[in-house]
Each structure stands twice: as structure tokens, then as C-alpha cells.
Amino acid sequence: MAEIKSIIGTQNKKGQTYTDTWKMMNEAPRTPSFFTGSEVIKEALRRASCDVMIAYPITPQSEAAALIGELFAEGYIGDYFRGESEFAVMSQCAGSAFGGARVFTTTAGPGTMRAMENFPMWAGARLPIQMIVTCRGINSPLSIQPDTLEIAYLLNTGMLVWHAETAQDFFDWILKGYMVSEEPDVHLPLALCCDGFFVTHTKDVVNLTPADMCLPPYDPYRSPVPCMDMECPPVRMMRDPFVMKSNYISYATHASWQQEIWAAVERSRKHSIHWLNGLIDTENTDADIVIVASGTAVSQGREAIRLLEDEGVRCGLVKVKTLRPWPEEEIREATKNAKHIFVPEFNVTGWLAKEIRATVPNHQRVHAGPHVCGGMTMPPEIIVSEIKTALGMKTFSLAGRGS
């Protein structure tokens, strides 16, 4: 810690000042800028004191990954290269993190799936890598359109999983994310997800922190496991490798380590609450009807609420920011008055609705929908329609429904 404190106020080779992250994020002046989500990722990385970024082209994250290459060329990133596949890239990220670097990467859809074997390994090895997931379809036939199904696969890897709604979330959470995942009692990778295209390819006003301020560098010696750099004694880790042993000690070791990973996910809760100002945001949760959503479904839910208000139907909103750690208590509390809970989602299976059903009492209150998938947009009108139908109110017919 002493080392980190002493570096605050000094400058890096680009002339940026290492700044206390809380001050940088909460007190420093912000400049409104009109950027695409991809450009916002670049701007966050400019301020992230990132050692290694590894890139691979896949829509819709290619632009962000290439823009970070420009940052490398300008000298803001320690090293940068294009890997050969997402599986390889995520292993290269692991290698860099094992070597004590602050690591960043981006992926999407089929790339997330191809790399999947790496994610429980990252968590198990306590590597605080940050991975942006710009969600897109993973079905066959091939689709490049927005669809959040891949998030469901990330939920049980032991990674922290956050779901950004807007480019502003993205900017803030990339920087804050490192603060949470690098805490010694957490030290886990973070999958920072957003809905591809809707966030990456649209322009929005984003308030940026000053470009001459950056995060304090990562200190690998605060890690709960040794950094693989031969700067500390290379003691034997165990007498026999546990992989081959079919005995109780081996099982107990693996079991307790898995429990420790999930305990670390839980311990991230207090840090996430601190940095994100709570794991959820709520509006009017005293209403009979509450929409619970994550990602851009929150924005569409907000619009639907406005439309319903015009018709005299009052509706509350819960924006779920972190999926891991899962805001169980918060969601239960925010939905305690709700007679109906609607969960609009951009995927076919409704994974968020399933999580919520498993969380709240009287789960028949949870309406899993509306769902859109395969790249469809979610007009607020279909959320309105879903709600009115459930309430027995007359609703307009939607094209293609044949009613």
C-alpha cells in the first residue's frame, strides 16, 4: 500500500498524473463528450494504466479493440498484439496476468464461447483480468446481431459479471472495475458486458474524467497468490499434484478452493456497492408493477414506464448492475411490494428472469418477458403490451402476431 500511496501525484511517461481513483471518479471535473461506445472504451483505457491489451477481431468489439491499438501506438499501453483466436487470446491474457500485469481484452458472442475454458481457469488462478463482452448472437445460423445469451454462460465461471446499460456506465465501470477486481480479498476477473451495437455503435453524451489523470498502477504483490515472476521464493506448492490423486485430501483441496473463489465473489459485494453506489438502481419500487432488467433492456423499460404513465399505469424499475455478485437481498427488497414483476430481455431463454424467480418469494409474480432475440430490437411498446396483457387491459395488436 505504501508503494501505491507514494506514486499518487507522480506522472507516467505520457505525462498523466497517477490519481487516487475515488477522487478521479467522483471529484475531478467531467467533460461532456459525444462518442460511440467503442470510442468510450478507448477513452477509459487511456486512463486505466493498463500494461497489456490483447486483441482479436470479432464484431461488434473489433472497433474498440483496434482503437486501443492506437492507444498503444501513442504509448498509453505497455504492450498490445493481435492473438490468433479467442481461446489463445484469453490464455495470453492469463499469461500476462500470471506475470503481474494489469490486463485488458474485449470479445463478443462466438468469441466468448470459444474462449470459455479459460474463464474458470482465470477465476481459479485469481487473475484480475478485465474482459469487455459486447454481446451478440451465438446461435446457428451465424448472426452478428445483439443478443445477450452468452452472459448466461459466464454466470457460473467464478468471474465477476457486470452488465452496463449505457456508454457512461461503460466508461465509469471499466475504471472502477479494476478497483474492485484487484482488491486482495477479491482478486478475480471481471466480465464487463454490454449489448453489442446498441452501446458500442451508437453515439451518446458521456462525461469523461480529465485525460491527464490515470489510475494508480496495479501492484501484483497485493495478490493473494504468488505472482509468477521469480521475484519471490519459488517454493514447492505441494508434495504431490492434486490432479492425479483420488483421495479425500485432494477432493477437499479442490472443494475448498472452489468455495474460496465463490467466497471471493461474495467479498466483492462490499467493494462493488462502494464503487457503483449499490448493486442495483431503483425507481418507484412502491408501485404494484416493477420492471427488473439489465443492460439496454433497462433503457427500454424506462421508456415503457413513461408510456404506461401516460395511460395512468404506475410502474417501478430495478436496474440490475452486477449479475455476479448477485444482488439477492436488494432485488428481494426492491420487489417486495410488487404484484407483478416483468423481466424484459434480449435473449431467447430468459436467464435473468430465471435468476429473479429463484430469488424472490411468490415467484409466480415474475413474468419472463418480453423476450426478443436474434438481433431484434425491443420497442418499449412491446413491454407495454406485455404488461397490459398480463393485467387484462386492452392492448393494440402487434404486427405478425395474427391477433
Partner: protein, 303 residues
Amino acid sequence: MSKERIQISEALYDIMPSDYQDLVKSATYGKEDRGWKDIGTSKELIEQHSLCAGCPESMAFRYILASLPNPEDTVMVGSTGCTSLVFPMVAVHNIHSLFGNQNAIASGLKRALSVRFPGRVKDVVVLAGDGATVDIGLDMTLQAWFRQEKFTTICFDNELYANTGGQESGLMQKGFVAKMAPVGKLFDKVRLPEIARESGCHYVVNCTVSKPSLVEKVIRNAVHIAREIGPTYLQLYTPCILEIGKNSMEGLQEMRDSEKPTERFAYKEYVSEPAKQLLAELAAKDKERKAAAKQLAAQAQAN
């Protein structure tokens, strides 16, 4: 890391494991001319192993760890397989993450160490079996070479999947009957040393581990060339005596039989032009150093 880093607090000395005490007392970290001859007179960087009795891989491990020119600043990367049974007992930082991704891990690792320790030598050495190197991980093996990543790749070639019980691998000989090759392997042994040369490796050797002095030489060359110039590749025959029906005592003979001039592990070497130049420079420096030492010894005697 210097040897001072592994010193034990006096107050804790007696409760430390004896192999750690031995490492502090008589390991060869930092010894400039360390090599296989230190085995028996110093603490080896490998403590026990759980391989089969007489496994040539265990000999290879000992020779390699004795020969690394810079173990105090070397990080090794392994993969799934018999080698992963040994790495937990090795007194050099090492990483095992998944099966086949060793050259990807090493690429990221080497770059991170270069960013974090500019101007300092940090060697990275990959050591994995033939399944990891040539089958499941071939993509990442080759791509690391294409990118000219500066680390050494060592393949322990036992010509099959040993740890899972003797299944066919890409480096298995054609016609060999094994699990998953019930009528004999139908295609030739993959010619990875030639592929390595064409893929940009600056130093490629194909040999057995029957002679420790030879292993020492190729390891030192491979690590030095990788450090200064670019990727290097060693394919070392470490027969799985269990799966080819040999006894514990027969591993050495198997290697000697397989390295005869007409056999598949006859010594083969490729050295790129820049690597040749580097080796010549290193040899000249070595000669100079030895001459200086000799002179110093002569002076001391004269005094």
C-alpha cells in the same frame, strides 16, 4: 531474483522443510557455469517426482533444470500431461493452466515480464508433451513462432498420450497400434522440427535425452537464442516405457537405439544465421572467461 531472496529468517529456519533449507544452502541459482555436473553435489531444483520408476522424462527434467542458464530469473510454462505431475516439485516459478495453451500463456507472460522489468533478463521456457505441443495446442505453438515470441519451446516427445493411458498422438510413428489407433496409426509422425524451422524458429534440435552433456548444451543454446533473437524449439525423445512395453531399466537403451543415424531421433539441428553469430559470440566470451579464470588461478598459485 537473486539467491538472497530465498534466504530464511533465522527464527524460522528450523521449522522450514529440509528441501527448502537445502535450496538455500546449496542450490545453484546465480552460478554462471551451472550444468548437469552439479547433479549430486548441489541441491537440484527438482524435489522428488511422481513419475513411473525409470521414466526417461524424469531424467530429462533433472538435466534441463540443472542446465537452465538463469533459473533465478526463469519462469516455466507447462501443460496438462505427465509433466504436470512434476512441476509442483520444481523450484522455479511455473504455470499450468489448461491443456494445449502453453505457448499462448508463455506469449502473454514474456510480454508482461518485458513490460514490468525493462532492461532485465527474464527467460520463459515452455515444457510440454507431444499431445499438448503438436495436437491440441499446435495452433498456439505455431502462432507464437510466427510472431517471433522470444521464448523456448521444449516438447517431451513420447510419441503418445501417456498420462491418459497410451492413446495415439500426432508424433506417434505410423503403424503403431495403440488405443484410438486400433488398426495402427494411419499417417506419418508429424514433422514438427521441419515445421518449426519454416515457422521462424532460430534454433531447432531433435534428439534424445540419453546424454546429459548434450541436453545441457542444447538447453543453454536454446534459452540464450530465445532471449536475444527469437523462438527456439527442442524436441526431446522421452519414451514412455510403460506404454511401449519396456521395463524400468530399459529407457536409456530405448533412447540409444532410437538415436542411431538412420533412426527417427538421430541428432538433427538447425541454427539460423543470426543465431550462429550469437553462439559464436557466446563461445568467444566463454573462452575469454575461462582464460581469465585460469590466469587468476595461476597468479594465485604464484603468489
